[in-house]
């Protein structure tokens, strides 16, 4: 989230920072249930007496990115209930970091004082970079971020893991998927050259596409300050004969792109990444424009296999869960399996957890909400990318 400074006007933004900025005020009302409270998993007996494993969660619960932090904390809380067994109970505690690196480190310290044994968080990239440095210092603390997507978060840190794809992986996966699904289309890559998320995915996509011999006929860019109209870029793409757009961009410019293409009468297929998730929720958006839009996103609340989770989440928080909640839920799931793998119990020392869990993480397989997850020793997740297509205003597996 606006990288290291935490200021919302920083032009260099990471994944999700843009949607964070624009999702803004609407999110303030939904903070209930996750405001720095300790909640017990399973039974009420498992409190501070050392009989439950303590998981800390960090994310912005206030400010413009509040909806993401709230989802992460809710996901962690719900997962702690669901994955508590008679042998190993989980309790969670959430702290607010307002998507700011410095506040996130403070939140981390206060959770450590509480007795946290593993951290699920922080939510945003800037905060995660700051906290990962601290978590990796002696005494180490095991950390898995559900949603910070920069490869720098996990790089060179032994006890830091990611539950979401990082940007380069997402780009490479998109190329692989497109090569499988649409080998004969002519592609145009359309990305925001002023945004690290968008250009990070684009770089990896183009590299992989060359390897797979995808036919890229054109590349078009824009920047945040020229996102008003894309007719010129579309005219160029059309002239180059492109039949499909790969657009690793956020849903706000994507809605302009769809409207412009429609206005021009340019009949073109389009695929986006997880930043496209949310396009159907834009107020006043003509969802018929998004019919047939492909997007690669880790989680769909419409899918049958996630129905139990969606129902439980709705019941507890009165909201449909998003990918942030699902990623956080899977992160806690991974911690519970890794603890069992490492043979650690509720009384484990945090430093011990940080020492043993990384190896256990590389051995486990999580059948999660966001797919089948495994980890490499760099802390990066490996899971099958999921492609959905929008049909009748819903995500359908493609």
């Amino acid at each position: 989230m606006s990288c290291l400074t935490g200021k919302s006007f920083n032009p260099v933004m990471n994944r999700r920072s843009v949607i964070a900025g624009v999702a803004g005020l609407g999110a303030v009302g939904i903070l209930a249930g996750c405001s720095g409270n300790e909640s017990e998993g399973g039974s009420t007996a498992a409190a501070d007496d050392g009989s439950a494993f303590k998981i800390g969660a960090i994310g912005p619960l206030t400010g413009s990115a509040a909806s993401y932090g709230t989802s992460v904390c809710n996901g962690v809380e719900l997962a702690c209930k669901d994955f508590s067994t008679d042998d190993l109970k989980f309790v969670s505690k959430s702290e607010d970091d307002v998507a700011d690196g410095e506040k996130s480190v403070n939140a981390f310290n206060s959770l450590a004082d509480w007795g946290m044994q593993a951290l699920v968080g922080p939510t945003t990239t800037g905060a995660s970079l700051a906290v990962a440095e601290v978590a990796n210092q002696d005494p180490q603390m095991f950390m898995i971020t559900p949603s910070a997507s920069s490869p720098d978060v996990t790089a060179d840190k032994t006890c830091v893991f990611q539950a979401c794809f990082n940007d380069p992986n997402q780009g490479a996966n998109a190329a692989t998927k497109l090569a499988e699904m649409f080998p004969d289309e002519k592609f145009v890559v359309f990305y925001n050259s002023g945004d690290t998320y968008s250009s990070g995915i684009r770089d990896a996509f183009v590299a992989k596409a060359e390897e797979l011999k995808l036919n890229i006929v054109d590349e078009e860019t824009f920047k945040d300050d020229s996102a008003t109209s894309f007719t010129n870029q579309l005219t160029k793409a059309k002239d180059a004969g492109a039949t499909m757009i790969f657009a690793p961009i956020y849903y706000t410019p994507a809605s302009v792109l769809l409207a412009n293409a429609n206005e021009m009468g340019y009949d073109v297929k389009m695929m986006g990444c997880d930043g496209m998730d949310g396009i159907l929720g834009v107020e006043g958006f003509d969802t018929s424009l998004a019919e047939g839009l492909y997007l690669m996103t880790p989680f769909s609340a419409d899918e049958e296999k996630n129905a139990d989770f969606v129902a439980a989440y709705k019941d507890a928080y009165d909201e449909v869960p998003d990918q942030f909640a699902a990623d956080a839920y899977d992160a806690v799931h991974a911690v519970s399996l890794a603890l069992a793998e490492a043979g650690l119990g509720a009384d484990a020392d945090p430093a011990d957890v940080a020492a043993k869990l990384p190896e256990a993480m590389t051995k486990i397989t999580v059948e999660g909400l966001t797919g089948t997850l495994t980890w490499n020793d760099k802390g990066e997740v490996e899971k099958d990318p999921m492609v959905y297509v929008i049909k009748d205003g819903k995500y359908v597996a493609a």
């Binding site: 999702a23 005020l25 078009e220 860019t221 008003t228 007719t231 010129n232 005219t235």
Partner: protein, 293 residues
């Protein structure tokens, strides 16, 4: 050739939106001699009003345009009365800073009222365009925008040239003190200028958002700055200058994106501006008025 014409049409349509906004800037600057940096945000308010009327109240598009014009005109008079009138005798810098303050105030007020989440503006003009025009990227919105732009410019030329109020405006623009001595109500004339400028902003807002459907509190900022550039380019204070400046800016932008680079387009647009100002400091249509000492 077809593709070239398509770019030209794209440039013309975007350029007409810039031109309508630039006409508002140039009116206010020409008469009140102040840069109203809140102009872009009045555009945004106009678009929101139109959105509320069509989407929430379900009224027809034409009603929403009239509502937007009415609200923005009132808003323009209000802003002028509360924020600028008390500073009539103050230096130009104080007024400029106040205008920036008003701009932030409007953006934040809009964020409080409508939230920061972008809304999707449904185009208010939709009629089928003949196929031979459609082949050149001509859309219903671009037709309406170009026509509206021409009508507005002609209307403004007539108004400032032929009507009594228009003559008063030109008098005020030349010399406020002398105009007052001639019995012209300077305050009323300036309020009237703001009313017209803001009404234009409302129309520009509706057309801008019909063209580019994302509506959020910062919607007016960047087009506002581009249009300001267009006004300076054409010679600020000159009505035909704002029109030509806006259209040229749109076309240069489209051609730069088409034949040079999409990432460099803004640098090229502003580079051209610098060159024009070096060669012709008063802009294309501006009159160079030497300072009398």
């Amino acid at each position: 050739m077809t593709v070239f014409l398509q770019y030209l049409v794209n440039g013309l349509s975007m350029g007409s939106v810039y031109a309508i906004i630039a006409l508002g800037y140039t009116m206010v600057y020409g008469i009140a001699k102040m840069l109203n940096f809140a102009h872009g945000d009045v555009i945004m308010i106009g678009a929101y009003i139109s959105f509320v009327v069509t989407s929430y109240m379900g009224l027809p598009a034409i009603v929403s345009v009239i509502a937007a014009v009415a609200v923005c005109t009132a808003l323009g008079i209000l802003i002028e009365g509360l924020a600028y009138k008390p500073l009539r005798q103050a230096g130009p810098l104080a007024v400029l800073i106040t205008a920036i303050g008003v701009s932030y105030f409007l953006q934040n007020a809009a964020q409080l009222i409508w939230g920061a989440t972008p809304k999707n503006f449904t185009s208010i003009v939709s009629f089928p365009v003949p196929a031979f025009l459609k082949a050149y990227n001509v859309s219903a919105v671009s037709l309406v925008t170009v026509i509206a732009c021409l009508l507005i410019m002609a209307g403004l030329m007539w108004f400032t040239g032929k009507t009594k109020m228009g003559k008063a405006m030109r008098a005020v623009s030349e010399d406020k003190a002398a105009a007052q001595l001639m019995g012209i109500n300077v305050n009323r004339t300036i309020s009237m200028t703001f009313a017209i400028g803001s009404a234009l902003a409302a129309i520009a807002g509706v057309l801008l958002c019909s063209y580019s459907p994302v509506l959020q509190p910062t919607t007016g900022s960047m087009p506002g700055i581009k249009a300001f550039t267009a006004a300076v380019f054409g010679g600020i204070g000159s009505i035909p200058g704002a029109f030509v400046g806006g259209i040229l800016l749109g076309i240069i932008e489209a051609m730069a994106q088409a034949y040079i680079s999409t990432s460099l387009a803004n640098s090229i647009v502003f580079g051209v501006l610098i060159v024009v100002l070096l060669v012709k400091p008063a802009g294309l249509f501006g009159k160079y008025v030497p300072e009398k000492v």
